[in-house]
Symmetry: C2
Subunit: 374 residues, 2 copies
C-alpha cells in the first residue's frame, strides 16, 4: 500500500503513480477542492468527465458540519459524497487559523470558535487524526500550524510546534489504509525550511507536504523555498505543495519536483465569472462577450466549450443563473487538469523542459485579469 | 408539419405523437420550465438523462434579457441554450400581468415596466409573435390576457380581448416552422369558457391551450372548466393546460383529455429543499433526515436516487451548497416525467382508468407538505 513509483523524470520534474485504496493516482496531479464534501456546483459524474482523479476536502469544515462521526456512520467520505476515487483531507490547521473567529493556541493544541455558530472547539494533533480517520480519505495530513511567512520570529515557534505535532500525529494514527503526510513549515526563512525538511523527512510519513506557501509571500519567495526544499526530500515519496495554485504555479512547481497540487482558484474564479483562456483570463460578465459565438476556448475539450457560446454563458451570468457557476467550473477545472495531463505526457516523452517556456507564455495572461476587458 | 396523431386512447385520455421540427414529441408530456433559457441548475445533458423531451421558456424574460434579437442572431433559442429537442414559448402575457411593476392595458396591447430595471415596454399580439419568431421555439402561443378567475365581469372583457388578440396573433405569424397555439380564457365562468372554446377552435391554430387556470381558483373549479372545455376541442390538435401542475393535476388532466403540461413546481420545490416521494412530499432540510442512508425514493431511477443518500442531500442543503438544488431538481423532474411516461404506457395498454385511483392515492401526499415532518 502507498507505494509511489516514479515512472519517468526530466530534470527535477517527475511523473509517477501513487497506489491508494481507491485506485492508482497518476502524478503530477491537480486536486479540485471539495470543501464541504462537494466540489461546488458539480456532480461526481461531471468531475469524472472533466478528468479529475483526486479531490481534496476540508477537515475543519466537515468536523463542524455535518460532523466527522456522521460521515463515518454514513460509510466514510467516499461513500457519503459518492467519489469512488482518491480523496485527500487537510489537517484542519490552516482553516482554524484563517477562518475561525477567535483562537487560542498552545503547545497542546488550539481552541477556536466555529465560523458558523461561534461554538467553542478544540483541535489537537490527536483530534485532527481522529477526525481524518473518521472521514477516511486516502491521504491525510499531520496537524500543523501555518504562520505568517513574513513573521520570522514566530515562524520558528510555529515550525517547532508543527514538528512536535507531526510526531504526535504519527503516534495517533490507527488506520493502516490512509497515507499520512508530514508537513514542512518554516515561513520563507531558508534555515528554518531546511531544518523542517530534515525533521519531517526523518519520520515514517507516506508523503511530504510543503505548507505555509501561497499565503502572502512573493512568487520569488515561494519558488526559492521549493527550490531549497525539494532536493532534501526522498525520491520515493509523493510531494504535495498545499493550496497552490495558478496555472503557472503548477508549471513552476512541477519543474521543481512537486507531484500534487490543490487550489480553490478554478472553482472560485468560476463563481466570479472568470475563466482561463488562451487569450488570458476573461471575465465573461463583460458586455464585450454579449454577442460572442465562440466557446471560451476553441481548443478545450470540456463539456462547456464543446457545447456553449460565450454569449450564452454571459447571459447566464447576467441573469444570475447558477448554471453559470457549474459550466465555468467545468471549464476552469478542465483547463488545469488538461494542462497537468499534458505536462505529465511531456515528462514521459522527455520534452517537458523544452515545453516550459511555451506553457509559461501561454498561461501568463491567466495569472491576472486582462486589464482591457475588466 | 405539426401533424398530431393519436395512437391510443382510453376514455378521454389520449396518447399521441406531435411532429415538430425538432423531433416527434410523445404525449402526454410534462415540460420543465426554463424561464431564462435554462432549466435552473441543470445542464441540457442532465435534462436529457432524466427524460425531458419538451422545455418551456418565457417570452417576457427572454425579451428583456438577453433580448430576442440577440437570441435570433445567436441562431435561435435551440442553438443558444443547446436544447436540440422541442421547445415551447409562452406569449409573455401572463408574466406581464404577474411580474411587471406597473401596466396599462388597452385593446391594442399592454404597456409595462420591466421587473429588472423599471424600463418601459409595450407588448401587442404582433410584438409577442415577432419575439416568439425571433426565439424560434417549435410551439408558440397567441398573446392573451389572463384575468383573475374570480372577477367574472372582468373575465368577459379579458376573454373578448384575448379573442381579438388571437386573430391578430394568427395574422402576424410569418414563420411556417412554428406551431401556433390559441388560448382559451374565460375564468371559471362556464358560459365564457364555452364561448371561448368555440371561438378559439374555429381558427386555424395548430394546437389549443387552456389558460387562466392554476391562478387562484379551486381544484374543483379547475376540473370543471377542463371537463367543460375538452369535449369542445378537436381530436386532432394537441391540448395544453398551461402552468399546471402538481402530480395529481397531471393525472386528473390526462383523464380529462389534456396532452401537454408545464409547471415550475418540481424545480421550485427543489430549490426550497422539498422533494416528491412515495412517503409524500418531504422537506430534506428536516433534521429527521440527517442520518438517513436511504435515497429519496428507492423506486426512482434518477441519478440522484441512484447515487446519494438523504443524509448527504440534507448536508448539502444545510451547508448551502447549490448542488442540492441540482440534485433535487433532477429527482423532482424525473418523478413527474416518469409518472407521465407510466401514464402514457398505461393508455397504450388500456389500463389507465384502472390505475387512476392507485396513482392518485400514491401522489396525494405530495400535494402538500407532510405536516409531521415540516
Amino acid at each position: 500500500m502507498f507505494e509511489y513509483r516514479i515512472i519517468a523524470s526530466q530534470g527535477d520534474a517527475r511523473a509517477g503513480v501513487f497506489r491508494t485504496p481507491h485506485g492508482d493516482l497518476e502524478t503530477p496531479v491537480f486536486a479540485p477542492v471539495g470543501t464541504q464534501a462537494t466540489v461546488k456546483t458539480l456532480t461526481p459524474v461531471q468531475l469524472e468527465e472533466l478528468g479529475a482523479s483526486l479531490v481534496l476536502s476540508n477537515t475543519y469544515h466537515l468536523y463542524l458540519r455535518p460532523g466527522d462521526e456522521l460521515v463515518a456512520e454514513q460509510g466514510g467520505l467516499h461513500d457519503f459524497m459518492q467519489w469512488p476515487h482518491p480523496l485527500l483531507t487537510d489537517s484542519g490547521g490552516f482553516q482554524v487559523f484563517s477562518l475561525s473567529q477567535t483562537r487560542k493556541i498552545d503547545d497542546d493544541g488550539v481552541i477556536f470558535k466555529s465560523h458558523i455558530d461561534g461554538s467553542s472547539h478544540r483541535f489537537t494533533p490527536e483530534k485532527s487524526i481522529q477526525i481524518q480517520e473518521n472521514l477516511g480519505a486516502d491521504m491525510i495530513m499531520a496537524f500543523d500550524e501555518c504562520s505568517d511567512p513574513n513573521d520570522h520570529a514566530y515562524s520558528k515557534i510555529a515550525m517547532e510546534r508543527t514538528h512536535r505535532w507531526a510526531e504526535r500525529s504519527l503516534a495517533a494514527k490507527t488506520r493502516t489504509d490512509q497515507a499520512l503526510f508530514g508537513i514542512i513549515q518554516g515561513g520563507v526563512n531558508p534555515q528554518l525550511r531546511k531544518d523542517s525538511a530534515q525533521f519531517i523527512t526523518s519520520m515514517p510519513f507516506s508523503g511530504i507536504a510543503i505548507g505555509g506557501l501561497s499565503v502572502g509571500e512573493s512568487k520569488e519567495e515561494m519558488h526559492s523555498v521549493v527550490d531549497l526544499v525539494t532536493p532534501l526530500l526522498p525520491e520515493n515519496k509523493p510531494r504535495y505543495l498545499m493550496g497552490v495554485g495558478t496555472p503557472e504555479d503548477l508549471i513552476n512547481g512541477i519543474a521543481r519536483g512537486i507531484d500534487i497540487f490543490d487550489c480553490v482558484l478554478p472553482t472560485r474564479l468560476a463563481r466570479h465569472n472568470a475563466v482561463f483562456s488562451p487569450e488570458g483570463r476573461l471575465n465573461l460578465m463583460n458586455a464585450f462577450f454579449a454577442h460572442d459565438k465562440q466557446p471560451i476556448d476553441e481548443s478545450c475539450s470540456c463539456y462547456t466549450c464543446r457545447t456553449f457560446s460565450r454569449a450564452y454563458l454571459r447571459h447566464l451570468i447576467v441573469a444570475k443563473e447558477s448554471l453559470a457557476g457549474t459550466l465555468l467550473s467545468i471549464h476552469n477545472l478542465r483547463a488545469l487538469i488538461q494542462l497537468i495531463k499534458d505536462i505529465r505526457e511531456s515528462i514521459l516523452e522527455k520534452n517537458f523542459e523544452s515545453m516550459v517556456p511555451t506553457w509559461l507564455a501561454q498561461w501568463q495572461g491567466n495569472a491576472v485579469r486582462e486589464p482591457s476587458r475588466n
